[in-house]
């Protein structure tokens, strides 16, 4: 562990410094990174380079820190609302709605399953995760141009399969590109 620390402490500080952390934050986050690495050290299988493994842990530490900061900021910005009673439920909600909803989900599942695996991933990353083309390309392991063309093809295929079931489909599919 000490060898890993001495080899990579500087670069790990650099990792956080590149993300705009102060010196103190860099040191705290680097300590957290090495603490986590120490806990997981025995389960390291040697599949990846040790440095990449460590930077993956650093990336997790960084994202957790950012989420915690965002949450704290949002909590501080919020004005507490007075206690409210639960609104009464809509008496018109019918058990049949459940069946219709499930049926629609099954149609969607079938339409998505009809797409090739990489195209499915592109669609999920674009619509579900709201990713940019560059990010989709990195996550799927394809070029940006291929990502764009995959999404364009997916748009056509999904429109023909699902248009009658989703009235606002075009608005959602616009996110897939032209």
């Amino acid at each position: 562990m000490e060898e890993l620390f001495r080899e990579l402490y500087g670069p790990v500080l650099g990792f956080f410094s590149q993300r705009g952390c102060s010196q103190e934050e860099c040191r705290d986050l680097a300590q957290e990174t090495f603490l986590r690495a120490h806990r997981a050290f025995d389960s390291f299988r040697g599949e990846a380079k040790r440095s990449t493994w460590l930077f993956t842990i650093a990336a997790n530490v960084w994202l957790n820190q950012r989420r915690a900061k965002d949450t704290a900021k949002r909590s501080a910005d919020e004005v507490p609302l007075p206690e409210v009673e639960h609104a009464p439920r809509d008496p018109e909600v019918h058990p049949l709605d459940d069946a219709i909803r499930e049926e629609k989900l099954e149609l969607l599942q079938a339409a998505i399953a009809d797409l090739p695996p990489k195209m499915q991933r592109c669609v999920r990353l674009r619509v579900y995760q709201d990713m940019k083309y560059r990010e989709i390309a990195e996550l799927v392991g394809i070029s940006i141009e291929t990502a764009k063309s995959q999404l364009s093809l997916a748009r056509k295929r999904l429109r023909s399969a699902l248009a009658e079931h989703y009235p606002d489909l075009d608005a959602d599919l616009k996110r897939l590109g032209d």
Partner: protein
Amino acid sequence: MARNATFAEDLARLTERERAGLGKRPDPEALAALHDGALPEEEAERIREWLSVDPELAATYLELQRSPEPAAPAFDVDADAAWRELSARLDPPAKPDSTPASESPAAAPPAAAPPAAVPTAAVPSTDPTEYATVTPFTRRPVVRAALALAALALVALGLGWWQAQQDALPTGSYTRVAVTGEAYRGLTVTVPAGDVGIELAIELAASDSDGELDVMLVDANGRTIRAQTIAFAANQEGVVFRVAKADLMDGAAYELRYTPADGPDDAPFVFQVELVD
């Protein structure tokens, strides 16, 4: 009539359902190996499948892609001081009469070393300005040796029992889930026996008819971790929303969103999850 879900909403619901059937969530080393191009094609595809359905994994992988080999920062790096600080947190300080210095250099950093006045023949000081007080050898009675042996045997038994307890713990990265913000406005978070995840109990207002509740757990970036529509019967007092440990990240903050069938969003319930080794 209930509002028609959009394509994006249904795709989110479908994706979250399918994620549950994908098997073991990739750990940091698997993501690192994908980044290094060190995985067989089949395994790489499995992990890319996870990346498409798991926003936290995707964010981690993209962060790794941003700067895989950063250089040291512009400010001074005191690695020795940082190592001393870290090693003090890794292990308890070594006892001078039980651990040879060569066995665990990390466990006895200078800051935690015993004062020079303590008799310590086993850990010679490396600092030439310090002198250890050495107790001369004396012949001890046999009974003291027997007591020492008995004490050693007890320690060995204790260590054996402790090791057995460790071996009995469930496998996985973490063994325990803890949460902060356990109760808030009719919501309660508990960690059920077995530490398989968390349960969020949601109180329901009195109702004469059956209904359903859409519940969503989102992370601090507003991304959905888990969503479920929970059906309830007339006069049912509450529903339980379960989240698996595999879907939770250590130290992350989460927000629970739920909407009565036709009512407005309630105030968010935010809590922090801690996964403990």
